[in-house]
Each structure stands twice: as structure tokens, then as C-alpha cells.
């Protein structure tokens, strides 16, 4: 039991649409097979968020659209469209 491990992928997209272009990406691998870290790749794993779905990633969370705070309409901060995906891998023998 308990040989299922989670892989988590976050894709930061160009708009709030899941089929828009990937601009940033982060991956964490609970199986221990891969170790990802900052600046380890210049090529995104998928061109769009939809491409990740088509490759078997399950969408866990999509970004909530929040109107800008009054007075902050023109300031920029975090990436706005982070979509979180998971894959479950069976690491059992």
C-alpha cells in the first residue's frame, strides 16, 4: 500500500484561458525520480495548458480572477495565471 506518489506541475499561462501559451513552469516529483530546481530548463514542457491535459496531467487548481485592488490597477506583481496539475505514479514493485 501507499506506493502512489504525486507529481505536481504548475504552468503559468499567458491569459486566464487553459489553452493559452505557457510562460513559466515548475515541477516537483514525489517519486524522487527527478529533481527540478530554479533555472534548470529553457524549454517549457508543454506549449499550452491544454497540451498538459492531453498528456494525462489532471488539473488540480485554476487561478481565481480577482479585480485589481483600488489604486493598484496599474501595478504588476505575481504571475496571474498559474494552473496546477498532478499526475499519480505507482512506485510499487
Amino acid at each position: 500500500m501507499a506506493t502512489i506518489r504525486q507529481q505536481v506541475l504548475t504552468l503559468y499561462l499567458a491569459t486566464s484561458a487553459l489553452d493559452s501559451r505557457v510562460l513559466g513552469w515548475s515541477m516537483y516529483d514525489g517519486t524522487g525520480d527527478q529533481a527540478h530546481t530554479t533555472g534548470d530548463s529553457d524549454t517549457p514542457p508543454y506549449e499550452t495548458g491544454l497540451d498538459a491535459l492531453r498528456d494525462g496531467w489532471r488539473l488540480l487548481q485554476l487561478p481565481v480572477l480577482i479585480p485589481p485592488y483600488p489604486g493598484e490597477e496599474y501595478s504588476t506583481s505575481f504571475m496571474k495565471y498559474g494552473f496546477v496539475f498532478e499526475k499519480l505514479e505507482d512506485t510499487g514493485a
Partner: protein, 281 residues
């Protein structure tokens, strides 16, 4: 006052405003790089209390020779004035065969000023890709974030992994997102960082002789001919990681900084601010 020929030109300043950094490859000669490496090895680099005029720092050392190079004086003076204040320095080390990179971050704490500090990053030895040079994200300097809050972002389109020869210098806006990459070699990687605060109002400190009288005249918004390498063109170029909508706001951030630096309060790019400022009485 350094001779005008050593100051930055307006295109370089526009580049700095747009992307938050300037890069000078192999600017520092080998004998200074080697002397600085020796000083690093003997732990002989001594900074100064925050707020000390830079002219009073590092007297008689190799770092002083580096800072006194006319090209280095020219870029410092163009960005933060003739005798900026020493904030802090640090010898950043990426240890051999590290397990991971540093998280992406902006230095210090969230900083809302239009006035800006610069951070000089000086690479006194060659840095090949696998040695964990600094990673930086062009155009990230206007984003309002606090330090490591952006460590969740592992990779972004358009990020630059510093791969450079000895003597390369980066001049960064204080807000730029960056990190030390993973060092996969069996050698230590060194980088010398120096933060400088302006002591004068940052107004036309560079060589502005190249600003033609019509450089800020309003252009037709959608035209393929706009790629002329001028200030408006440079400030309109999107970084590959810009979101569709926020990317427009980044252009506005640049317009505001350019206005601050030039005093040209009508300056615009693509009519982004002019349209909003049109409020007939």
C-alpha cells in the same frame, strides 16, 4: 566628472529601463580580475558602513581599480550619479556539486520607489553554463514582490543564465528577479556583488546628446515601421514571459520611469498613458 564619452547613451538607458539590467562582457581586464580573485582567496575584501560615499571605499585595492575604470565610472554615474553611496557588498559563492539552485527572488525587501538602486554583479572568473552563474529574468524589476515570494517560479521564458568570461559586469535594477543557479562542477563559483544607492536625483545623468528633438513625438500606434531602435521602440518590446494583459502594464511602468529619468512628462509609448490622461474639462 567623467568624460561624456564614457557615459551610457540613451539607447542603453532605455534598455535598462525596459529590461532592468545592462550587461558588459569582458569589461574588466585580466590583471584586475586575477588580483580580485587573490583578494577573495585571502578574504581581504573589506566593505564599509552603509551610506559611505563610494569614492571612500576599497582604497588601494584591486576592486578600487575595477571601479575606477572609465567605463565602470561611466555606467555608475549614468545610473546613480557621480558618487553614489555604498550600501553593502557580498562575495556570492555557489558551492561545488550543489543539490539545487537558490530560489528566484528580488534582493532586499519590497521597494516601491521610482528612484532605484543598482547592484553591480562582477564575475572575476569564467562562468560556464554548468557552473551556476546568476539566473536573471529581464523585465521583472517593476513587479511588486517581496524577496523570495517568487521562489515558486522555477523557469520562465526569456530567463538568462549568465554564461560569461572573466571580467563581465552586470548592472541590475534593484527589483530584478534573479538567483544563483545550481553549480554542477567541482569548483567554487564566485561573484562579487555591490549595491549602490543614488545620492543625487536621477535626472538625465547619462549622455543625452543623442536624444533628437522629435524622439518623443507621438507615432502611429500600429505600424510595422516602428522597429527603429529608438527609445519608444526599445520601451515597447515585450519580454517572452510577459502575460498578454500585464505585459501592457509593464510598458506603462517603463513610460513612468522614463518620464522620471528625463523630466519629459509627455513622453509616451503607443499612446498607453496619453489616452488615459486625455480628460477634457
Amino acid at each position: 566628472m567623467i568624460d561624456k564619452q564614457h557615459l551610457l547613451n540613451s539607447q542603453q538607458m532605455a534598455e535598462f529601463v525596459a529590461r532592468g539590467f545592462l550587461r558588459f562582457d569582458e569589461l574588466v581586464p585580466a590583471e584586475i580580475n586575477e588580483a580580485v580573485m587573490r583578494d577573495i582567496d585571502r578574504q581581504a575584501i573589506k566593505g564599509a558602513p552603509a551610506g559611505t560615499p563610494l569614492s571612500q571605499c576599497y582604497a588601494g585595492t584591486a576592486l578600487r581599480h575595477m571601479l575606477d575604470l572609465p567605463a565602470v565610472q561611466g555606467l555608475i554615474q549614468s545610473l546613480v550619479g557621480e558618487d553614489p553611496l555604498f550600501d553593502h557588498d557580498a562575495i556570492h559563492v555557489r558551492e561545488p556539486n550543489e543539490g539545487k539552485a537558490q530560489g528566484l527572488h528580488a534582493d532586499s525587501i519590497i521597494d516601491l520607489r521610482t528612484h532605484f538602486d543598482i547592484q553591480l554583479m562582477y564575475f572575476p572568473h569564467d562562468v560556464p553554463l554548468e557552473m551556476g552563474g546568476t539566473l536573471l529574468l529581464p523585465g521583472s524589476h517593476f513587479r511588486r514582490v517581496n524577496e523570495m515570494d517568487v521562489a515558486a517560479y522555477q523557469n520562465m521564458r526569456g530567463q538568462i543564465a549568465m554564461v560569461c568570461k572573466a571580467g563581465t559586469l552586470l548592472a541590475l535594477h534593484h527589483g530584478i528577479w534573479h538567483c544563483g543557479r545550481q553549480n554542477k562542477t567541482d569548483r567554487r563559483r564566485y561573484m562579487f556583488k555591490l549595491r549602490l544607492n543614488p545620492a543625487v536625483r536621477q535626472l538625465r545623468l547619462w549622455n543625452t546628446q543623442d536624444l533628437e528633438p522629435d524622439y518623443q513625438s507621438q507615432r502611429e500606434i500600429y505600424t510595422r515601421n516602428a522597429r527603429d531602435g529608438g527609445v519608444q521602440d526599445i520601451l515597447s518590446r515585450r519580454e517572452p514571459w510577459f502575460e498578454a494583459a500585464s505585459g501592457r502594464l509593464e510598458i506603462v511602468n517603463r513610460i513612468k520611469l522614463w518620464r522620471f529619468l528625463t523630466g519629459d512628462n509627455e513622453f509616451d509609448v503607443h499612446y498607453w498613458l496619453g489616452r488615459l490622461e486625455n480628460k477634457p474639462a
